[in-house]
Symmetry: D2
Amino acid sequence: MRWEPDPDADPAGYTYTFGGVPAVAEIAPGTLLSTWTMDCFGGRVRAPTDLASQVCDPRMLNPQSGPFHVTGAKPGDTLAVHLVSITPREAWGVSSTVPFFGSLTATPTTAMLHSALTERTWIYEIDTREQVVRYLAADTPFTATLPLDPMHGTVGVAPALGEVRSSLAPGDWGGNMDTPEMRAGVTCYLGVNVEGAMVSLGDGHARQGEGETCGVAVECAMDTQLILDVLPGRATPWPRLESDDFWMTTGSARPLEDAFRIAHQQMVTWVAELTGQSIIDAYQFVSQTALTPIANVVDTNYTVVCKVAKAHLPRVVAMDGVHARLRTLAAVHTRQSGSR
Amino acid sequence: MRWEPDPDADPAGYTYTFGGVPAVAEIAPGTLLSTWTMDCFGGRVRAPTDLASQVCDPRMLNPQSGPFHVTGAKPGDTLAVHLVSITPREAWGVSSTVPFFGSLTATPTTAMLHSALTERTWIYEIDTREQVVRYLAADTPFTATLPLDPMHGTVGVAPALGEVRSSLAPGDWGGNMDTPEMRAGVTCYLGVNVEGAMVSLGDGHARQGEGETCGVAVECAMDTQLILDVLPGRATPWPRLESDDFWMTTGSARPLEDAFRIAHQQMVTWVAELTGQSIIDAYQFVSQTALTPIANVVDTNYTVVCKVAKAHLPRVVAMDGVHARLRTLAAVHTRQSGSR
Amino acid sequence: MRWEPDPDADPAGYTYTFGGVPAVAEIAPGTLLSTWTMDCFGGRVRAPTDLASQVCDPRMLNPQSGPFHVTGAKPGDTLAVHLVSITPREAWGVSSTVPFFGSLTATPTTAMLHSALTERTWIYEIDTREQVVRYLAADTPFTATLPLDPMHGTVGVAPALGEVRSSLAPGDWGGNMDTPEMRAGVTCYLGVNVEGAMVSLGDGHARQGEGETCGVAVECAMDTQLILDVLPGRATPWPRLESDDFWMTTGSARPLEDAFRIAHQQMVTWVAELTGQSIIDAYQFVSQTALTPIANVVDTNYTVVCKVAKAHLPRVVAMDGVHARLRTLAAVHTRQSGSR
Amino acid sequence: MRWEPDPDADPAGYTYTFGGVPAVAEIAPGTLLSTWTMDCFGGRVRAPTDLASQVCDPRMLNPQSGPFHVTGAKPGDTLAVHLVSITPREAWGVSSTVPFFGSLTATPTTAMLHSALTERTWIYEIDTREQVVRYLAADTPFTATLPLDPMHGTVGVAPALGEVRSSLAPGDWGGNMDTPEMRAGVTCYLGVNVEGAMVSLGDGHARQGEGETCGVAVECAMDTQLILDVLPGRATPWPRLESDDFWMTTGSARPLEDAFRIAHQQMVTWVAELTGQSIIDAYQFVSQTALTPIANVVDTNYTVVCKVAKAHLPRVVAMDGVHARLRTLAAVHTRQSGSR
């Protein structure tokens, strides 16, 4: 199944929130969904002379593709979002510094009396054949070639408590977590809060550093294929990810130590469940095995990821094996369509 | 040169602070120093029935080997500490939960009204031949075999402003940073605050997870070889590390986002200096290239590491090439001695 | 004008969010609105044997009276909410400890591995004649008589960016700020984000300590009179309050220092505007004159209030004098009606 | 007894730390100590043209009078510091903005990429007869007259664990708490960590706002009289204060919510002890009665004060009544000497 945003429509009609928006389509579990996502600026920042603060409406940032109503998903279930492929749609990406946004600047929340840092836009060349992006410094002739590593900054569902949250915010509904772990081949698990889950995604990044230091990754429109599945009656309090090699939990909160605490408490609980260990033993086990990359320190909540290698827990299967099943299904789908 | 702690001495005479203690020895730059370090409990927790809160004096935790007076080191210089080898000294290591210490518990600082979590001690088998540690859960028959990955939780110098800081604290003097990046083969750079730098090290870990979630790694006595060097007239505001593959900065502070900010601001400044880029360009470059593992969220300050791969900056040499020079020198030393 | 919630209606139909709910009534600026608000538990916790976690639905906490559509209020305006009178409706109030909620306990955000603290309910006697509340300890015969000091924990408007926020959250839309400064006689200024402002209020407290330490004040149903007014074309980025004696700004964020920074940056800006001082001079002036009580350290954002005494700035008039005007209007209204 | 700092001595010889310095004098409990303290800049900033960053050595800020060795004080005791009188010594005070210091600016810890805010010095007139200070704005003719409210930013003892801490830092040893509650008439309780307690004080403020927003109060040299007393065998984990009207606890930590948690957990414990209530009842009582002013959000730790009015707990006596006893003794002393 294919659903596409309309780049010629009135931008006011795009989806800028998780929750509060009617579904654009209904998707049955197991269907391959082909879509694409606009970049976080809605395509309005295209040259070094385009400054986000001048060409973008602050109420219309980070448009999402969706929300999709997933057949049968009910509050209390878990939605599995398997990312089959994520491919930059254009040969360019964009990054920038945005006034009073980022981790090394005063912001409206970390409020200070400083003037804004210099606003600037960088255009990257994206070379999908060489699988690299090319960076050009603005003030000197310095250049660098960096590996292409496409991912989605934003994947989420409608929040609990009837809340509607901006697509700029991450939280227990997923949203703008901005973790480079959200790559093709990964399955993201999200707790369902409303009928149909109402899942959407966007904010494609050709690559980003951990922490997304200046607040803006190598942003680009993205061609993406995904398969959704529902695990009925299984609650997932905070988003989790599974790759072929890692189990991952996330926490999104401020201060950053609370994001850490959430991710690690979730991992301790999960490891206890997966291995039959007591909570205190699982606490010990996670203490010696966790990898803990920071995802973002720039959004309205900060995000931390906790990873445990599957190699440390051979024979353990999580979430009823849905990741392996969707991997296989993705292979079948892509073989049939001949697409990547 | 060899210096050894005396395990039979009165523990009150060991070194438990950075600063405030006379040197145990003078070391000339370039000399290979062979030493060993006691575990963080001073060897007093040796069995599952030993509880740290019962067998340890809280004033005598984390004993350091040193301080060493480095010939010629002066305030304003940088001390390079090259870790030649780090090898567990015994066939066992120990971890534990300590009442009101750790990231998923109330503490004296994150003060609450909860009772302490269960106190427990785990003894690990350390197998240096197989290069693994073996974990046994306490409450169930669960076991796991994990890679050996020896490191020092603590490397530091005397602090500035005449301060004397507990070996439990990390900060701009180094100290208890608890990062698994402090492995053999790495060079740690520390700003010198007093004549002779007064460097010491300890807190060997057979391995640890990123964040040191429960507050205690696989603690063990460690045989360690290092070479010290001095970079005169070069200030290093916060500890940095260099491996063959990465440049790394650290920040130690609370809340955790301030540790992140320090590490990333330091990296932006360093990249600007190394590449000639402007600060705003370096901010952009770091935003797309940083890896950002959390080191600890349990000590009196929390530590974050920012890493940039040397592969992204070919031909760049940092700190006058001292890391490569000490790598070579270490190879000469170890070839001569035939030791690991 | 009078609007009343219907205590016999289906609780699912009450208002639990700021934004996302149609107006219950239209109010013209200057009208005296008489209403009452249910307590934060919707009246379901009435005896020491009633435990909130058993008798309340977590999706139906903190019901609001409203939202009211204020005639003529437009995005970019400021809404002035003048609290004419706030009187407990019943002779009792209730407080409690709620599992994993409060400042001295682990929470879902400050996630840990502790069991919950003891859940308990305290019923207070409210004596409006003596103007006191009476506290009875549960475990000992200790009792205390404390001054009655009625206030609203929650006053807010529909948020920006199309967000809908739970009535448990405070932020730049106001909401659950839980400051004891929200007393009768005070004017609260809120930036308008949507047509009609959509203001609502609730969460009456017979009194509370600063910080609302355990998360629950002396909660009670409240009879409240208020007058609304609109200041066209004047933006108010964060809620402000004005009493006869103080100008006050608020900040709601995590960590708590960010709430402090917001409130103080807002006060510096406001003082500069009111006195004609430069920003750096106003920074100096606020540094020597601010009173800074903490409001709450328990909600999804923490709230700090910054107060500057009018006595320090004689002859200064803020917000076009609307506070004094509404004070006078309130006196006229209440004289006419003969009510308190 | 009288002890005076020598303003003509080499500033390098003054006391800039808690701990690590030999006693300047021995004081017997109950003796009236008359001393004076230099301002935080050591008197080097005396005119609007004096900029702290130019005229001060950063290693020599906040000189303390002391340390005093208190006869008989032993680790595990509590030291009572009763402030008999605090009087500005000169007719002027000074405040300033210091580059990268303060709550509304990037700092070395909240590290960013901003340039420093404008550095500026304000000289205040101190009028002890009118009991006011007079402020002159620098950029406009604005002036203000503010109440004189003298206090000490710094009162502390030698820390635990053999640490030596800069006089710029607050913590469980007291130190640079910067609370305006440290007025004449107040008794400050500090846990003793070393023989003789080694108490010192300094950092006089003619007045300050709560939070000390820009980092610098109205700093001045101060004539101070105090009486010390020892409560043997009574531990005080964090500094407490007692005035005629309030019991107060303090917490100093980062993030600010941890300072809040410490102060409130200490107050809950103290109220339980003073009233015989259970901990959960005391938690409830403090939740409805605490006043919680912020002290500082600028030092290396942030400080929060929790206050409970004695009026709420009639007949309760704390700390064996030492405050009332020292109040009486102070009256006797000052009557004898005829001094204020």
